[in-house]
């Protein structure tokens, strides 16, 4: 017996120009915030953008977007929900606010199912928010979407960067394309650049730092406020300097 789903993933993503995966070896470093804000910035610049929350057990991009509760429509597949001008897909549409106690094999199955049936249509960018670590989701993405480009997030903590380095080593070994590293939630008083130096040492492009911004959580659901946070302002520079120039 053969699982036919994986064979249709390429054609499902055929009209998506670039796939950007926001990832980190470490949890709680701001991946979801970076992924959501990045998607909104690109949309603001006039691009067609999708946002796919692949953190099935702890989705959070819907909170940042304040996405309304709804049920996705079916049309020769599942149609992503339109949220703030983005084509949006998340496990919350299937499990709501309830816990989803999934083991690795279930996570993998849910991922393949959604990749096989979600009709993204034409997109300039599909932004993917990842769960932390080196687990089933990143291994499946590396296997199923070879052209994914990784944007890595860390905090200023050397402990965080220690696990980030392991994920980066894996990505390099598998010849995945890496856009670079963002250092998030840096304290304004912290003037040392040890993460930047560490990044250079492992051959990782340092895209810059985002200072800790106490208005982040009060900006949820408000597009203008989100783009005005330190995350929005810094990522706008990344978009202009690093993302759009890359061929």
């Amino acid at each position: 017996m053969i699982d036919p789903r994986v064979n249709v993933i390429d054609s499902r993503l055929a009209n998506v120009k670039r796939i950007i995966v926001v990832s980190s070896g470490k949890g709680g470093v701001g991946k979801s915030m970076v992924a959501t804000t990045l998607a909104l910035i690109l949309k603001d610049e006039g691009y067609k953008v999708g946002l796919f929350d692949l953190d099935f057990t702890s989705p959070s991009t819907h909170v940042i977007l304040n996405a309304p509760v709804t049920v996705p429509q079916e049309d020769k597949g599942i149609v992503p929900v339109s949220v703030k001008g983005l084509k949006y897909m998340s496990m919350v549409y299937f499990v709501g606010e309830n816990p989803a106690p999934l083991r690795g094999v279930d996570v993998s199955n849910a991922l393949i199912e959604l990749l096989a049936v979600t009709q993204w249509g034409e997109l300039d960018f599909l932004i993917i928010d990842m769960p932390p670590g080196i687990g089933d989701v990143i291994l499946d993405l590396l296997r199923l979407i070879k052209r994914a480009e990784f944007l890595i997030v860390t905090t200023s903590s050397l402990l965080a960067f220690e696990t980030v380095k392991k994920q980066v080593a894996l990505l390099c070994e598998l010849k995945a394309s890496i856009i670079g590293l963002v250092e998030n939630m840096k304290q304004a008083s912290n003037i040392n650049n040890s993460i930047e130096i560490e990044a250079r040492n492992v051959g990782l492009r340092f895209l810059g730092e985002i200072v800790f911004d106490s208005t982040v959580e009060t900006s949820f659901g408000d597009e203008v406020k989100l783009l005005g946070t330190s995350v929005g302002r810094m990522l706008k520079r990344v978009v202009e300097k690093d993302l759009l120039v890359k061929s």
């Binding site: 017996m1 053969i2 699982d3 036919p4 789903r5 064979n7 249709v8 054609s11 499902r12 099935f56 049920v71 996705p72 079916e74 049309d75 020769k76 597949g77 599942i78 496990m91 549409y93 299937f94 499990v95 309830n98 816990p99 989803a100 106690p101 999934l102 083991r103 279930d106 996570v107 199955n109 849910a110 199912e113 959604l114 096989a116 049936v117 009709q119």
Partner: protein, 132 residues
């Protein structure tokens, strides 16, 4: 209907196998449909007919139903999944993503959501036949 997306996956996979086996024409495709996802056989059959390429022009699509067996990882209980016991919204969520079952279904003996979908999860390509 997302049966269309699954039909496309089945035809793409069957065509790949046919090419590997050097089949000039496919005469029969056997598909197994798991009870858990509740894929509509009529819609799936219709979709297969609509989007099939010439390779399948005389092919017969056989759809077999697979019963869903769930096995509790905590106490070992094995039980048959019964869709009828679910409300419409839950049934629809499981239809889209069968793993949503872990959110809504519990072991009848110990109440755990930590069970294995031992059989009958999704849609599988069972076998294909054709002429060389």
């Amino acid at each position: 209907m997302h049966e269309w997306a699954l039909a496309e996956a089945i035809l793409t996979t069957a065509a790949q196998i046919a090419e590997k086996e050097r089949l000039k024409e496919v005469t029969e495709v056997t598909i197994r449909i798991g009870e858990l996802q509740d894929v509509e056989p009529e819609i799936l059959k219709f979709a297969l007919g609509e989007i099939k390429s010439d390779l399948f022009k005389n092919a017969k699509f056989r759809l077999l139903k697979a019963k869903t067996e769930l096995k509790c990882r905590v106490c070992g209980t094995i039980w048959r999944f019964k869709r009828e016991s679910l409300d419409a919204a839950t049934a629809e969520a499981i239809h889209f993503v069968p793993e949503a079952a872990h959110t809504f279904v519990k072991c009848p003996k110990c109440g755990s959501p930590d069970f294995e979908i031992a059989s009958g999860r999704g849609v599988w390509l069972d076998s294909i036949q054709g002429v060389k």
